[in-house]
Amino acid sequence: MKYLIKNGHVIDPKNKIDAVMDVLISGVKIEKVAKSIEAKDAEVIDAKDRIVAPGLIDMHVHLREPGREDKETVATGTHAAVCSGVTSVCCMPNTEPAIDNPKEVKALKDIIKRTAVANVFIVGAITKDRDGKKIVDVEGMKKAGVVALSDDGNSVEDPEVMLKALKQAKKNSTFLMPHCEDKKISDKGVMNEGIIATKLGLRAMPKKAEYEIVKRDIELAKKAGARLHIAHVSCKESIDIIRKAKKDGIKVTAEATPHHFSLTDECVAGYDTNTKVDPPLRSREDVDAVKKAISDGTIDVIASDHAPHGKHEKDVEYDYAAFGMIGLETSFPLAVMNLIDTKLISWQRLVELMSLNPAKILGLGSKGSLSAGSDADIVIIDPSKQWVYKEQDIKSKSKNSPFIGKTLKGAAVVTIVGGKIAYKA
């Protein structure tokens, strides 16, 4: 099957393309990108006034399978992804059981093979049961197919264990993507420390809990000579540490979530438990720092940290509510509204952050660009479409989003995964 995407504005930072072009897809691969392609045997997709880009890659997603299929499954999560222009996701290992051995990786791979409608790459746990004690069989996990390791939700508390894990990751040509949080500091906290927490009388999670571990893990990565990707960076201090580390030549990359550049802790007023997330929504100053880091290259990746939770886990007291919000369906429009429309970054940079850089970090050479011979993972975007994010329209199995009811801008109109149309508006 061949598709010819005609007259779209192609944004392909890897090949420095930012112009109206045609894209020809042949089977599962991109055949070529050029002006005025003719291909009689291809089905034509009109992309006039649309943006055509490599499919978005979301490096940080909780698909909840196995174990919490009540919240999300590989099928529902990847459906939400393709409807939002996301053609590849990395799924986090904090499932039940955790993805902490090659057998679980294989079992999950089988579920993915049977049910996924987008590409799913597996992130394995760093330690058994994600409890920070015994390091997983990194070699076996890597052979079974994990792309990275993370105890997401927890930091590896013991620096010696973390150092060993970094060394093993290096040895096996993979990398760690740590969740940085010293739980002795964040303790029973439920929101960012500051004026708003004081007003609301809620227990605080000081920024120190995050940036002290960011600092520690970067130092350990330097010592191990290992690659490190810091998950969901949320505060100014963490950014300053990462910026300096990059300057010093340490092999560190970092991601930020749309909610950490779109919302401040002021949103917690009213006690909407959909605003409860870890790391917490921070102050205006931190949000501005995250945005700046996105534009100056300190942050490499935008990832949603899509974290589905059932109603019964959110319709409770703020203290008792689960941490996390869904994000697959709002990630792209929030980036358009808060980064592009504010003239902070260009479309080129956006595609870098949401496709090219994740592909590079994950070592997915055939993704993240529209180069000839690349995987035909493509998104066609209506950049100016305004739409209301309604609860009943949410594709994810869970509805825990603080953006429900908000008007968003920018939407996928066609999503192609591996040369097949996975979504069409």
Binding site: T198, L200, A204, T273, D315, E317, Y318
Partner: protein, 314 residues
């Protein structure tokens, strides 16, 4: 004649969201109910046929009793429900409990909860009026209202008064509600505590912050002394009750430098010899028991106003 302000809220969740006028309306309404509480027959039919439920997730004697009496003096039917906090997580959710209470045709749910914000979550899921009787560290609106009512009846005004709140500000809902109420009515508020008990960003509330008790007392027209709760896990920075008493305990000696007319308030229950000496608590400057008495009138006013707002036949 200016148009009389009508009460529009079905709930009383906090003082922060109230306007100066709304606070004054509650105080004025409480004034008329105060008269009722001094009658030989202390009862009016304002809430006859209404059902008021005290839903308490924390042990409380005085607040619950005060609300119960207030509701009974308005002729409402009152039910008390005490929920074991330890069973909450496995048991019925707050929202389910609220809806069940509502299914009993309750008109008002008075809720005391260990979690900040719980009354807000409850109010969104029930049509009944919700009155916050203290939520976590967040607010205790009726306590602040009765404190302000007491101040006003003793000193004749609130505007321009200097009020110092002394003690564990970080974990005190009484402090927060008082700060909102007093500053909205034009008082100057000082908070006084050891640094570990002053939460971040306190100055942004429009209050003065000091760690010096003598300074807090010197200029004050009134001091509100908070209960020190040593059972809290995160005040371990504070070694002993005796040390606290020495540095921050309000004693006759410490009050020597105070204004002659200074009022001493305390939301209770008192820890004698911890945050306040017995002599001061029982002495001529203390209005602690008047606060308790005024609490009934203030809570009658609140119950009257919130049920009135929901369009009940009153």
């Amino acid at each position: 004649m200016p148009e009389k302000l009508a009460w529009k809220r079905k709930d009383l969740l906090g003082i922060e969201e109230l306007s100066k006028e709304e606070i004054e309306l509650i105080l004025n309404t409480a004034d008329s109910f105060k008269e009722v509480t001094t009658r030989r027959i202390k009862k009016v039919p304002a809430l006859r046929g209404k059902t008021v439920v005290n839903l308490f997730y924390e042990p409380s004697t005085r607040t619950r009793t005060s609300f119960e009496l207030a509701a009974k003096r308005l002729s409402a039917d009152v039910i008390n429900i005490a929920v074991e906090v330890s069973s909450v997580k496995k048991g019925e959710t707050l929202i389910d409990t609220g809806r069940n209470i509502e299914a009993l045709m309750a008109d008002v749910i008075i809720v005391r909860h260990n979690c900040s914000g719980a009354p807000y979550i409850l109010s969104k899921s029930v049509k009944a009026s919700v009155v916050n009787a203290g939520d976590g560290w967040h607010e205790h609106p009726t306590q602040a209202l009765l404190d302000i009512f007491t101040l006003k009846s003793k000193l004749g005004r609130i505007k321009g008064l200097k009020v110092s709140i002394i003690g564990d500000i970080a974990h005190s809902r009484v402090a927060r509600s008082n700060i909102w109420g007093l500053t909205k009515l034009g008082a100057q508020v000082t908070v006084c505590a050891p640094p570990v008990l002053i939460p971040p960003g306190m100055e942004s509330f429009g209050v003065k912050v000091t760690n010096d008790l003598d300074e807090a007392i010197r200029e004050a027209d009134a001091i509100n002394v908070l209960r020190m709760q040593f059972e809290r896990d995160n005040v371990s920075a504070f070694p002993s009750r005796m040390e606290y008493f020495k540095a921050y305990g309000v004693t006759e000696d410490r009050l020597k430098g105070a204004k002659k007319h200074i009022l001493v308030m305390h939301p209770g229950p008192i820890n004698r010899g911890v945050e306040i000496s017995a002599e001061v608590a029982d002495g001529p400057k203390s209005v602690i028991l008047e606060q308790v008495t005024n609490g009934i009138a203030v809570r009658m006013a609140v119950l009257y106003l919130v049920t009135h707002a929901q369009g009940g036949a009153i």
